[in-house]
C-alpha cells in the first residue's frame, strides 16, 4: 500500500499491442512505456517487428489488438497528424517534385499556415541544419547527408510532441552515420522531445539511447538502459545481440563442487556465484563477454588462435577445452597464434542462462 505521487503519464505507452498480417504475427503483446523526454530505441534484426511497432505508434499501421497511448490518451483511432508525431524515414522519403523548402514546409502547408510564416519557419530550420543554400534545389540534386538533414528538418519544423526515426541512417556511409548520430543526439539534448528510434545497429542504439527495447520475433525481450541491457541481459538472445565482439555462449551443466555451485563446460569446471540461484543438474548456458576474460593468471589453459588489434584494444580468440573464447585486451597485443596462455573468469562476471527458456538466472 504505497501511495503513488502524482506524475505525468508516459509519453508513449503500448499495452499488449499485437499486429498480424493474415496468419503472420509480426508483433506479439508488446508492452512499452516511454517517459516524456526520453530517447528510446527499438533494436533488433530485420523482421523483428520494430518498424511495424514504430508505424503503429505513428499511426501508419493499425494494431490488431492492444492499446496505444500517447501522454495517457488512447490514440488507436487517431491519424498521424492528430497524434502530433513527426517521423524521419529510411531512404528519407523526400518528395521528389518539391524543392527543399517545399519539402520542409509541406506539413505546415497541410495545416493551413500562412505562407509568410511557413517561409520564416523553414528559413529558421534550414539555417539550423545548414541547408540555407540548397533551399531551392530538388532532393535529387542533394548529397546523402543533405537529404538526411532535409528529412530531419521536415520533422523538426512542426515542433512535434514525439519524434520517430525509422532507420534514418541506414543509407549513409559509416563516417557520416556517426556524425549524424551525434547531431541527432545533440538535437535531442537541446529540444528534449520524446524520441523513438528504430535501428538494427546495436552500437548506434547504445550510443544514442536513454533506454533500449530489444525486440526479437515480435516481442520485446528486454527494455532497459544501455548499461542494463549490456551488463544484465534478460535473455540469452539479448546477450548475444548486444556486444561487440559477440558474447561467447557455451552450454553446460550445473554441479556442486566443494559445496559451491559450479558449471561443467566439456572437460572444464568453472565456479559459479554461490548465491543459491543454481540447482545441480540444471542445464544452463554460460555467457562470457570478452572484456571479462583476464589473461595471464588463472586456471584456464588456452591457446591463442587469432589476434585482432582494433586500435585501442585487441581481440584475442582463444581455444580451450570448453570451446572457444574471445578476450579483449587493452592496446596492441603481442600474443602470437599458438601461444599458450592462462585465463581467469570471475564467477560474478559470468552470465548464466536457462538452456530451455533462455532467461538469465
Amino acid at each position: 500500500m504505497t501511495s503513488v505521487p502524482p506524475r505525468l503519464p508516459p509519453a508513449i505507452e503500448l499495452r499488449r499491442v499485437a499486429k498480424s498480417f493474415g496468419t503472420v504475427q509480426v508483433c506479439r503483446d508488446v508492452d512499452l512505456a516511454i517517459e516524456t523526454g526520453e530517447f528510446v530505441t527499438l533494436l533488433g534484426p530485420s523482421g523483428c517487428g520494430k518498424t511495424t511497432t514504430l508505424n503503429m505508434v505513428a499511426g501508419l499501421e493499425d494494431s490488431t489488438s492492444g492499446d496505444i497511448l500517447l501522454a495517457g490518451r488512447r490514440v488507436n483511432e487517431l491519424s498521424p497528424v492528430e497524434r502530433d508525431v513527426a517521423m524521419v524515414f529510411q531512404n528519407y522519403a523526400l518528395y521528389p517534385h518539391m524543392t527543399v523548402a517545399e519539402n520542409i514546409g509541406f506539413t505546415l502547408r497541410m495545416r493551413g499556415m500562412k505562407r509568410a510564416e511557413i517561409a520564416a519557419r523553414v528559413t529558421a530550420i534550414a539555417a539550423s541544419l545548414e541547408l540555407s543554400h540548397v533551399l531551392e534545389r530538388l532532393p535529387a540534386q542533394l548529397s546523402g547527408g543533405q537529404q538526411q538533414r532535409v528529412a530531419i528538418g521536415r520533422a523538426l519544423v512542426r515542433e512535434p510532441r514525439i519524434f520517430l526515426f525509422d532507420e534514418p541512417f541506414s543509407n549513409l556511409d559509416a563516417a557520416l552515420r556517426v556524425k549524424m548520430r551525434a547531431e541527432v543526439k545533440q538535437l535531442h539534448q537541446r529540444l528534449g522531445v520524446t524520441s523513438l528510434f528504430v535501428t538494427h545497429d546495436q552500437e548506434e542504439a547504445m550510443s544514442i539511447s536513454d533506454r533500449i527495447a530489444v525486440m526479437n520475433r515480435g516481442r520485446v525481450e528486454q527494455f532497459g538502459t544501455p548499461e542494463e541491457i549490456y551488463a544484465r541481459p534478460a535473455t540469452r538472445y539479448v546477450a548475444s545481440f548486444i556486444g561487440n565482439p559477440q558474447i561467447e555462449l557455451m552450454p553446460g551443466t550445473v554441479e556442486a563442487a566443494d559445496g559451491r555451485p559450479a558449471v561443467r563446460l566439456g572437460a572444464q569446471v568453472l565456479p559459479l556465484p554461490g548465491d543459491g540461484r543454481f540447482r545441480p543438474g540444471q542445464k544452463v548456458e554460460i555467457g562470457i563477454r570478452p572484456e571479462h576474460v583476464r589473461l595471464g593468471a588463472g586456471n584456464l589453459s588456452a591457446s591463442v588462435r587469432l589476434v585482432q588489434p582494433v586500435g585501442p584494444l585487441s581481440h584475442v580468440v582463444l581455444d580451450w577445452d570448453g570451446g572457444s573464447l574471445t578476450a579483449t585486451l587493452p592496446g596492441f597485443s603481442r600474443l602470437q597464434p599458438g601461444e599458450r596462455v592462462s585465463a581467469a573468469i570471475s564467477p560474478d562476471d559470468m552470465l548464466v542462462f536457462d538452456q530451455e527458456t533462455g532467461l538469465r538466472l
Binding site: 499501421e61 493499425d62 488507436n76 491519424s79 492528430e82
Partner: protein, 301 residues
C-alpha cells in the same frame, strides 16, 4: 474531432470512395450491353416482320461453333496472329524503348516520330498499307525490285501464309509505338542505383540488362503484354480493308468472323457466341501471360 476509424480503415474507405465513380460509370456504360451480349449468345435471333424475334436455344450456338470449320480455322489464325503479335510487339517495343532511353535516342524528334504510326487513323492506315502492298502498283514491290531483292512483283496478300503475315506486319507497325512508350516510361523508372550496383558487382552490360533491367521491368512488361493480347484479339478494321478475310478465309480472325456473322449475315446470336468465345479466349490468354510474366505473384509486393 477524432474520427472513429483507424488509419487503415480510413485508407480503405477513401479507397472505396475513389474507386467507386469509375466502377459505377463503367457498369453504367457496359453492364447492360455485356449482359445482353451474353444473353444473345444463347439465342437464335431473326429479323422478322419489322422486328427482332429472339428464341432461347441454350448452348445451340456454341454447339454450332464446334462443327463450324470456318470458326476452327479462324481460331487457329487468331491464336497464331495473337501470340506472334504479342511477342513481336513487346520485343520490338522493348528494343525501341531501349534505343530511345539511350543518350543518343533522347532527342524529342525520335519520340515524336514514335507516336506517328499510332496517330494515323486506323482506317487511313489500312488503306495506306493496302496501296503499299498492292501486287501491281504497290510501292513495296517497286522498292524491292529496284533494290534487286525481287525479280517479279509479288502478290503479298495472295497466298494464305503470306497474307496473314503481312496483316501481322501492318498491325505490329501500328502497335509498337504505344508499347514502346509504356516500356520507355518503365525503363526510366528503373532506379539508377541498381545499375551502379550492377557495375560495382562487375556485371557486364548484358548481365546488367538481364539481372537489373528485365526484373525491374516486369510490371511494365506485364501490362504491355496483357494490353497487347487484348488488342491483338480485337483486330478487325485491318482485315476488313486489307483482305476481307481472304484469300480463301486465310486471314479470317475471330473478331472479323464475329463481325461478319453479326453484321453481314445478321446472325446476331451466333455472332454474339463467337464474341463470347473471344472473350473467354482473351481472358485465358491474359491469365496465362500474367502467370508467365510474373511467376512469383507475391514477389512483387
Amino acid at each position: 474531432m477524432a474520427s472513429q476509424a483507424t488509419f487503415e480503415q480510413r485508407r480503405r474507405s477513401a479507397g472505396l470512395f475513389l474507386v467507386a465513380p469509375a466502377i459505377v460509370v463503367l457498369l453504367a456504360i457496359l453492364g447492360y450491353p455485356i449482359l445482353e451480349s451474353m444473353m444473345l449468345a444463347l439465342q437464335r435471333v431473326q429479323l422478322n416482320a419489322g422486328e427482332i424475334q429472339r428464341s432461347f436455344i441454350g448452348l445451340g450456338n456454341f454447339q454450332r461453333l464446334l462443327a463450324d470449320e470456318t470458326f476452327r480455322h479462324a481460331a487457329l489464325n487468331t491464336l497464331y496472329f495473337s501470340v506472334a503479335e504479342v511477342v513481336l510487339v513487346v520485343v520490338l517495343g522493348f528494343g525501341v524503348a531501349l534505343l530511345l532511353n539511350h543518350p543518343l535516342g533522347r532527342p524529342g524528334f525520335f519520340r515524336i516520330l514514335l507516336v506517328v504510326p499510332w496517330a494515323i487513323a486506323p482506317v487511313a492506315n489500312a488503306v495506306l498499307w493496302k496501296w503499299i502492298l498492292n501486287a501491281n502498283y504497290g510501292v513495296l514491290n517497286g522498292i524491292l525490285q529496284s533494290l534487286g531483292l525481287i525479280d517479279y512483283y509479288q502478290v503479298w496478300l495472295g497466298s494464305p501464309f503470306s497474307a496473314l503475315n503481312f496483316l501481322l506486319l501492318v498491325d505490329v507497325w501500328k502497335s509498337v509505338p504505344f508499347v514502346a512508350l509504356l516500356l520507355l516510361a518503365g525503363l526510366q523508372r528503373v532506379p539508377s542505383i541498381l545499375y551502379r550496383a550492377a557495375y560495382m558487382d562487375g556485371a557486364s552490360r548484358l548481365q546488367a540488362f538481364r539481372h537489373v533491367t528485365l526484373p525491374s521491368m516486369r510490371g511494365a512488361v506485364a501490362i504491355a503484354v496483357v494490353l497487347q493480347t487484348i488488342w491483338s484479339l480485337r483486330v478487325f478494321d485491318l482485315v476488313f480493308v486489307l483482305t476481307r478475310g481472304g484469300p480463301a478465309d486465310a486471314t479470317v480472325l475471330l473478331n472479323f468472323l464475329a463481325y461478319r456473322v453479326t453484321f453481314n449475315f445478321l446472325d446476331i446470336g451466333y455472332g454474339a457466341a463467337i464474341a463470347n468465345v473471344i472473350f473467354v479466349l482473351t481472358l485465358l490468354l491474359a491469365i496465362l501471360y500474367i502467370r508467365l510474366v510474373r511467376p512469383a505473384e507475391g514477389a512483387a509486393r
